[in-house]
């Protein structure tokens, strides 16, 4: 039996020790009529060799980005993962540990979380950060809940330029608090300060400001933040952390809480998960923050040591009064981000961000130069841009898929008025050759 080491003799000796005759006796505490009279209807067991063959065959039915290139972003970004990252994540001491409840036996992981918190603060430009949230979307949702509880207000303004799935998740999360999400329409792909101002009112707990926004465009974050502050609302930043290698950090806008999706920092796309939410806030709000937090302290001998701290905010201590219900988080993914940011550091991260921006602008030039293709919006963008195409995006993508290319995101999925509009993304993994090939293929639709 896979992974169960017992031999029949082991089982018999153990049953005897506990005074039972058979394995079935172990389930005597379960009323007979609740016991399943048959085996589960799942496929027959396989050895490791067989299951690897089976899964490899299934995996080959997926067109992975390595076969060509990926021009799709929209919340998941294909950056290069240095070999050191998985090498560290696969170390059993990290991989097979659980939450470091027992600090003396978990110093290693605790220190990496402390480092993750610090890196999150450094990137986002804020003072306090937690050990991770499920993803960027739930991080934003928890930030909204937190803002409502800090301000005692109940309306969260989320512009249309925030990732639509994030907005949906916020809506799901704030329901229980009697709070509501109010969507602010975009104007030419960005938030107009005036539109925002027109929605602000004393019941607004927070305003979410994306940077760059869902269309890849830069928002005027400082002006928007100023407007929100003027109305007494908190400012919640929703940022792409890779872009923050170059852009002014939320702490400077200034945002009160900032969240980010960490996947872009060294994690594989993995069909959209696991992801990792980065969460930071101003120091004064730390006791309202959701999630686990690691603090530096000392041991009995006065040596530097790390431990989980402020646990009285958490569900296992505080139960129904907890600041969040989160228990398991995305620790290993956060460790991946920690290793990635350590390895790349200041220079490397800037290089990746810069190369992504360059490639995206080269692709923008190449595509919008094609007959039938036109930019949807104008203004500075990071590494994504929207283009109106001469054919439905799904049709174009089917063609690109035939050449091993993962095509752009179709904006009409969520914005019906943006017909035939494609959101292209380039990271540093896209080469100039890839862009040429893409342009050649797109030309055939013109």
């Amino acid at each position: 039996m896979a992974y169960v080491p017992h031999t029949t003799e082991d089982q018999e000796a153990m049953l005897q020790r506990i005074g039972l005759n058979s394995l079935e006796d172990l389930f005597a505490p379960i009323p007979e009529n609740l016991r399943l009279p048959k085996l589960l209807d799942v496929p027959a067991a396989m050895s490791e060799a067989e299951v690897v063959r089976h899964l490899a065959a299934i995996g080959r039915e997926n067109a992975d980005a390595g076969r060509g290139a990926c021009f799709c972003g929209a919340g998941i970004y294909r950056h290069f993962t240095p070999s050191v990252v998985p090498a560290i994540l696969q170390r059993g001491e990290f991989l097979t540990a659980y939450t470091p409840y027992q600090p003396e036996r978990s110093q290693g992981f605790l220190q990496t979380i402390y480092e993750f918190q610090t890196l999150t603060c450094q990137l986002l430009g804020l003072d306090a950060a937690n050990a991770s949230m499920y993803d960027g979307a739930t991080a934003l949702a928890e930030a909204a809940v937190m803002a409502a509880s800090i301000t005692g207000r109940r309306r969260i303004l989320i512009p249309e330029t925030v990732h639509p799935a994030w907005t949906e998740v916020c809506r799901t999360y704030v329901q229980g608090h009697g709070a509501s999400v109010d969507v602010v329409p975009h104007a030419s792909g960005r938030i107009a300060v005036e539109t925002l101002q027109s929605r602000l009112a004393p019941d607004v707990a927070a305003v979410v400001i994306p940077q760059p926004n869902f269309f890849g465009l830069l928002e005027d974050a400082k002006a928007l933040a100023a407007a929100a502050k003027a109305a007494g609302a908190l400012v919640l930043a929703a940022a792409n952390p890779m872009a923050l290698a170059l852009l002014a950090p939320p702490g400077e806008w200034p945002a009160d809480i900032a969240v980010a999706e960490g996947q872009a920092l060294g994690l594989p796309m993995s069909f959209g998960g696991p992801l990792v939410g980065m969460f930071a806030c101003r120091r004064e709000f730390v006791r309202q923050m959701p999630g686990r937090i690691v603090g530096a302290t000392t041991d009995q001998d006065g040596r530097r040591a790390y431990t989980l701290t402020l646990q009285t905010r958490e569900q296992h201590i505080r139960r129904e009064k907890a600041s969040s219900n989160i228990c398991s988080n995305e620790a290993l993914a956060a460790l991946g981000v920690t290793v990635y940011l350590s390895l790349l550091g200041k220079t490397g991260l800037r290089n990746v961000a810069t190369a992504s921006v360059q490639r995206a602008h080269e692709a923008f030039d190449a595509i919008t130069a094609l007959p039938g293709y036109a930019p949807v919006f104008s203004g500075p963008f990071f590494h994504e841009f929207a283009v109106r195409c001469p054919a439905p995006v799904a049709e174009i993508n089917a063609r690109l898929a035939g050449e091993g290319i993962i095509g752009p995101y179709s904006l009409s999925t969520v914005f019906p008025d943006l017909e035939n509009a494609a959101l292209f993304c380039c990271t540093e993994t896209v080469s100039r050759d890839d862009i040429r090939r893409l342009a050649d293929l797109l030309r055939t639709f013109a």
Partner: protein, 481 residues
């Protein structure tokens, strides 16, 4: 003695690795307005060798299942098969984009579709969403489903959730997060919930009841069917916290006990690695009455055998995740189910319960067992006696176990047992390991109390000052001025 500076202290201006190319070409201000840029990026600057050494050294001070026995009750710390890592890293699973056309990711959709089916079968349920990424998020999904169900029937007044006093912290926390009020249900002398106690608490405001079965004491709630009947009769629905499914998988099914909705912890029962706290996954299974409210999309199979997203669910509670949940974890759980098959899955429960009882009788020779009867996959011992006679607390026993090469059990949970030590051996441990652990527990019971109270003695640090950590909050590194 071990001591590793932070990565920031290893930083030296100008150091860098060779991981990524230096971009050629234009200045960044050709693309981004200068006023949008940041002045400084205060990240560490280290070489590749120092990065590798830093994290390798740190890892050596951390304990994982790969190093030894990890009887952390409620967490099901069983062996995490290495093949799961191999499969999840295959480019066909790791290097695909959630928005790529379904025609180009049929394999991924198939895995999700089949996993939905396996989990429905295992839970005795009708439909499954794979979107929740943890148990707690599964609970939230479940409670939102229950609320949506009541509301869809115009039944807006059901805002109370019954929660046993032995429940895991996420249960009340979640109920409160979705805006429900908690009605605590006491456990009886047998460590279970009485049907009578439930009768006394239900009413027209009852949205439902959350139960964990077996419960957090490792005991099977044998009145579950009657309790479900009472809750149903009162118009409420039953939520099953599936964290303890390891005890009953293939032996009994929540759906057959009267649960209407439940979550699975794939990182427990289906042994996807805990990763120091996550990522896990918390899929939710429901009876048909709740299916219209599930988060979208789920995966469907068309008549022609192709797989696709099924998202047309106007009554949905909404999204819980940016994309499709923790797909990388789902692939691992799928691999596990395919590896074990029907007999293997049942064998999980059989051997998990066997091991727990085997350890229980050994530990019972020196420690009180909170509810001294046959347990399921885990049991709760108490150091109450020790505390009284020698001052040795559950915490001390846990710390001392570190010196013996083990991770401590879960301590001080469930709350209803004083000086609780919650021990879950799982099915993947050998008899020798269990024997050695029992011997360690027994030997600790007989050791000099001072030795135990000052433990651990062999770890990289002595006992850590947790009070000081909360008082003098230092949660990020800062350059010394």
């Amino acid at each position: 003695m071990f001591s590793e500076p932070t990565i920031f202290e290893r930083s030296r201006p100008g150091r860098h690795s060779n991981a990524v190319p230096v971009p050629d070409g234009a200045d960044i201000t050709a693309f981004l307005p200068a006023e949008s840029l940041r002045a400084e990026l205060p990240l560490p600057e280290v070489s590749e060798i120092d990065t590798v050494r830093h994290f390798t050294r740190l890892s050596q001070t951390n304990f994982g299942i790969d190093l030894g026995f990890y009887p952390l009750g409620s967490c099901t710390m069983k062996y995490n098969p290495r093949v799961h890592e191999r499969v999840a890293a295959m480019p066909g699973f790791a290097d695909i984009h959630p928005y790529q056309a379904p025609a180009t990711c049929q394999g991924a959709l198939r895995v999700m579709y089949e996993l939905q089916g396996y989990l429905a079968e295992i839970g005795g349920m009708d439909a499954v969403t794979l979107q929740p990424v943890a148990g707690a998020q599964g609970e939230m999904t479940g409670l939102l489903l229950i609320r949506a169900y009541h509301r869809s029937r115009g039944d807006d007044g059901r805002t109370e959730m019954l929660v046993p006093d032995s429940a895991h912290g996420t249960n009340p926390a979640t109920a409160s997060l979705v805006g429900m009020s908690i009605v605590k249900v006491p456990s009886n002398a047998r460590g279970r919930v009485d049907v009578e106690a439930v009768k006394a608490k239900v009413g027209p405001r009852t949205a439902g009841m959350m139960m964990t079965n077996p419960n957090t004491l490792g005991l099977f709630e044998d009145q579950i069917a009657e309790i479900a009947e009472v809750v149903h009769a009162a118009g409420g629905l039953m939520y099953g916290d599936g964290a303890n499914l390891n005890a009953i998988i293939g032996v009994a099914r929540p759906g057959d006990m009267g649960f209407d909705v439940m979550h699975f912890n794939l990182h427990k029962t289906f042994t996807t690695p805990h990763g120091g706290g996550g990522p896990g996954a918390g899929p939710v299974a429901v009876k048909a009455i709740l299916e219209p409210f599930l988060p979208s999309p789920t995966v469907a199979r068309a008549a022609d055998g192709t797989y696709g997203w099924a998202g047309d669910r106007p009554q949905t509670i909404g999204r819980l995740h940016s994309f499709n949940g923790n797909f990388g974890i789902l692939v691992r759980a799928y691999t596990y189910i395919r590896t074990l098959g029907p007999e293997g899955l049942r064998g999980v429960a059989e051997n998990a319960v066997l091991n727990a009882n085997y350890v229980r009788v050994g530990v019972a020779e020196k420690f009180q067992i909170a509810y001294p009867e046959a347990c399921m996959h885990e049991f709760v011992a108490s150091a109450q006696e020790q505390k009284k006679t020698t001052g040795v607390r559950a915490l001390d026993v846990g710390k001392r176990l570190m010196d013996y090469g083990y991770h401590p059990p879960t301590v001080y949970f469930p709350l209803i047992v004083p000086e609780a030590m919650m021990i879950e051996p799982t099915e993947t441990e050998t008899r020798e390991t269990l024997d050695e652990f029992v011997a360690a527990m027994q030997s600790i019971a007989d050791e000099d109390p001072e030795l135990v109270k000052s433990a651990p003695h062999t770890m990289p640090v002595k006992r850590v000052d947790e009070v000081g950590a909360a008082k003098n909050l230092n949660i990020r590194w800062e350059p010394s001025k």
